[in-house]
Subunit: 600 residues, 2 copies
């Protein structure tokens, strides 16, 4: 199965069209503005001097590079002079300020630090994102100035690490460059970049112990605990880990490295079967923004970084090409509608970095009594973070979101995600009309396409289809040219594996792929509520959320003064419970919030 | 209501007799031996020099002082030459090594540190414990050498803090000396010690910000956020806080300070109505060993220090004298049978410092992926800790445990705790025969006592009594000389206030005052279990625990590979569930453990 690139697909309507337009019209502008305000864009002038404001940070290149990558995807499918001018200006600055030997980094150029001496300073991570942005911009516009700068930089990195071996470390502290180098190789065909990607992958766990990245970090933190081909457990910083796994697949596919692919399969199963939130969030602890032990998925302190959900989508999209099961697209669906979209406000201007599954406002004063600070995620989205990796990561993902919808396989077009859209590729056309995920009705027409495979969402128990089909590996195989399918959507009460202690006694609610939550603003004291899964539950469309909301029934434990009481003495009253999509929470001010709700 | 001192009461039989004998015969010896091995006893020689092993720590005086206090209580009611010789030897060393001006501290005497310059070095805390030990030893034996040494030391402290004002700080970082000084005042009658106690209490929150005790600690941490008379929320390090509150009552009662007593009432309600575990544990976070926000009572990471349960008993015992409600004795009962007794192993040799309400063994490898260390309590009791405050605190509490049983009030003897025992005081005699808490049957005989008041335990719903009684403020008032009472014990399913999020959907089980738990060693995967509170449940006596165990029914969720599943697809099997007393857990090796159990 080969994913079909976003630019062959046009979104016509519906949820993702709305979100993509919002991204183009609002979020891209909003992030740009905040990047200007914080000095990130100006930093490409490389004129900062000690004492001036807005001292560049060592990850700023990557923030802007991701924005450029997103803008490039927009330019690939439509003209946008503003975006193109902005990029061209930055590229001019890159060309102007690139070192003679090819080096480019806005932080190292203006500070006293020595190049390639500090493994944790994201130098190669920034290089990777710049390379990806350059390839994307070249592929969008045909302009090669940026690409040529980055080829020169990549050549320098090759020389430093593989020829001179003059760097103080062997592999990057924050992975990313691995997949960027494979992308560069696939763009221009020079095998040395593939070789360099392989070097960075194969030499993990080969660094001195002194180079475990962050202070006090352990080998696990930056995937230095064992060689990648031996890995079977997702460990450490979740985004670093997933970016590495992406690079491992990219490299392995090109280099034919079966050991690495086997490792990726093991890692993928470890994540999706043991370490993933119902939202598709991953990386459950803020301590190192890391994966922890299997089934340790706390809700209130969930880190579940927006970037990690995006990275899981990236990893899964790659895995999807190697397998033939619908399970990959199921995970992508889970992550994109929930974990990722929680990362951006309804107005498109503000972002979450962390995406906890519970907010208990009263606990936010917890640190006043303590010596150490307990970390509690913020409760409202903000326009920019000091470490602002997530906003432009959403930008670039939404700019090309339709690239997740289709794939091909021999003479077959595979529909993995249901977006109201038209696919045109090599004289083949597939058109999907749907309000999904508002309802499960999907009309599919095809031209010059022998067969289509339509994913059966894992949440779906009843399929209505007006033609014959064969079900295989979670896909419906259909030869008809015009077909109407309905994946019956009903509110589904979800139980967690009992090993996930944090969800005990609770139920989550899904409608189609959408995970729901309750907020205090709708329901008062949400901790006193229990959902009655046997009572009538109704679903209605909400203009505010462009998704459905759910009205359920349950009971509320009456307030009591005692800390503990005999079960016989507990009193309840019947109550309505309003659920909204998890991704839409925190759009009406601070509020308590729960995904996993007590059950009657 | 005035508590009756332990030495008027003789334990004859039953749970507390067993535990007190074990303390005298085993625990006191075991702690002594470990204190010898670790250099704590030898340190009173004050001959340590840099480069030698066993460098004294600044809290070592207090560890040994608490052991002496416990040994003194034993000596008060029985001869014990070994204990007395040990104390006399230490006292000789104290006398020998006391500074000319009265100063005594084994750490400051042998290290380079300047006296009274470092607020967080427990100097006054050690002085307080030494003073308490000296008073206890004097009251037990009539020997006054130790007492005289400590009077001299107290006089020096008075001079340094109240006359010369030469210390670098105004009040101790770790409270304790306040109640010790009142005790010294009550022993020898010199008001200056009461005055000094008042000084240390009234000047809290009067220190420079630089003196917030531990590095990075905040004012709240050591009760420096507001003056004590204004306090209404228990804050910071739980043991420090509770020792302060004890000192506040002791001082306020003697000095007639109503404002401080009102503050203690507010603080007491805050703790017992909002911040206490079902076990009577308090201080829910390891970060600063502190109280946190109301209803924040996590189970797995519960700090719930043994010393804090003991300190809660001490505070409550004082509050009991000021009120007329049985609620105080209820809290003492909760804390002594559960939170405190969890702190010591069944064989009397090993101790817990922290007493979590959940153990999830798999989470103990959680830190391998992370940068910071997540703190998880240990899973088996140990013989000694580096910071070994808890073991001798249990020693001194068990040595005088019968001091919690009785009080008097005008012409009435009050029975607060049910221990098989005889009270003899001023020609009055009360005798209690009972197997409590194995069952609720209590026979009480009295001589020369007009009236008795018998606490009605808050967990009790049915009382059988063979004579007339009046119920008032949670007590039965009885004039008969021989009465048989039965507080009907039935397994009770306990629900937590819904504001305690960590207990949602769960039930705890109590039988009488005993809180139960399930262990993996009995029940396999305890996370898959749900207790069926509607099914038959049986209770049987266990010789191993000297308490009952409980056999209940429930269901086990069958293992499944999926992380999340539709509720309809969850499968269960019926199963037996064995519960043991919480205080007896972790006596058979490492095991998963839960107090709050999923409910069917």
């Amino acid at each position: 199965m080969k994913n079909i690139e976003f630019y062959h697909v046009k979104l016509n309507n519906g949820y993702w069209k709305l979100k993509q337009d919002l991204n183009t019209d609002v979020s891209m502008q909003s992030v740009w503005k905040r990047f200007c305000d914080t000095g990130r864009i100006g930093a490409f002038e490389c004129s900062w001097k000690p004492g001036m404001e807005n001292e560049p940070h060592f990850y700023w290149d990557s923030d802007v590079a991701k924005w450029i990558e997103g803008a490039s995807y927009i330019l690939k499918v439509s003209d946008n002079k503003i975006l193109e001018d902005r990029i061209d200006n930055i590229v001019s600055l890159i060309e102007k300020n690139q070192w003679k030997d090819g080096y480019f980094n806005i932080y190292y150029t203006v500070t006293e630090n020595e190049r390639f001496t500090e493994r944790n300073n994201h130098e190669l991570y920034c290089a990777g994102h710049l390379i990806e942005a350059a390839v994307a911009y070249y592929e969008a516009t045909g302009k090669d100035k940026f690409l040529n700068c980055m080829i020169k930089y990549a050549d320098l990195i090759y020389k430093v690490f593989m020829v001179d071996k003059s760097a103080a470390f062997v592999t990057p502290g924050h992975e990313e460059i691995e997949m960027a180098l494979v992308r560069l190789y696939k763009c221009i065909g020079d095998k040395k970049y593939l070789e360099l990607a392989g070097f960075f992958i194969k030499n993990r766990a080969n660094n001195d112990k002194d180079w475990y990245c962050a202070p006090n970090a352990k080998a696990y933190y930056c995937q230095d605990h064992i060689p990648p081909e031996k890995m079977d457990s997702a460990e450490g910083h979740a985004v670093r880990a997933l970016y590495l796994y992406c690079g491992m697949i990219d490299y392995a596919v090109e280099a034919g490295d079966k050991e690495l692919i086997d490792a990726c399969n093991r890692l993928y199963n470890d994540i999706t079967e043991r370490k993933m939130y119902i939202t598709g969030g991953v990386g459950s602890t803020f301590m190192g923004e890391a994966f922890t032990v299997p089934y340790h998925l706390p809700n209130e302190s969930a880190y579940s970084e927006t970037c990690a959900s995006i990275a899981l989508i990236m990893f899964t999209k790659r895995m999807q090409e190697l397998g033939n099961s619908s399970k990959y697209a199921d995970v992508i669906e889970r992550a994109m509608y929930n974990g990722m979209m929680d990362g951006i406000s309804l107005d498109g201007r503000c972002f979450f970095y962390e995406n906890p599954l519970e907010i208990n406002l009263k606990n936010h004063s917890i640190n006043r009594s303590t010596t150490m600070e307990e970390h509690i995620p913020i409760t409202e989205r903000v326009e920019v973070f000091d470490c602002s990796c997530c906003p432009p990561n959403i930008n670039r993902t939404l700019s090309a979101i339709q690239g997740l919808a289709y794939a091909y396989e021999d003479n077959t077009i595979v529909i993995n995600q249901f977006m109201d859209s038209t696919l045109n590729i090599d004289n083949k056309c597939v058109s999907v009309k749907t309000k999904y995920p508002i309802d499960g009705k999907i009309n599919i027409t095809k031209e010059n396409v022998e067969k289509i495979k339509v994913r059966i969402p894992s949440w779906c128990k009843n399929i209505r289809c007006d033609c014959e089909y064969t079900a295989k590996n979670g896909y419906m195989e259909i030869t008809e040219d015009n077909v109407n399918i309905e994946f019956e959507m009903r509110p589904m009460f979800v139980k967690a594996n009992p090993k996930i202690r944090s969800n005990r006694g609770c139920t989550a609610v899904q409608y189609g792929p959408i995970v729901y939550c309750i907020e205090g603003v709708d329901n008062g004291d949400i901790y006193a509520l229990s959902l009655d899964t046997k009572k009538n539950i109704t679903v209605e469309y909400s203009d505010e959320y462009s998704l459905n909301i759910i009205n359920a029934k349950g009971r509320r434990q009456l307030p009591c003064a005692d800390l503990y009481m005999s079960a016989e003495n507990v009193q309840y009253e019947e109550t309505d419970i309003k659920l909204i999509p998890y991704s839409c929470h925190a759009n009406r001010g601070e509020s308590d919030m729960l995904v996993w709700i007590n059950e009657v």
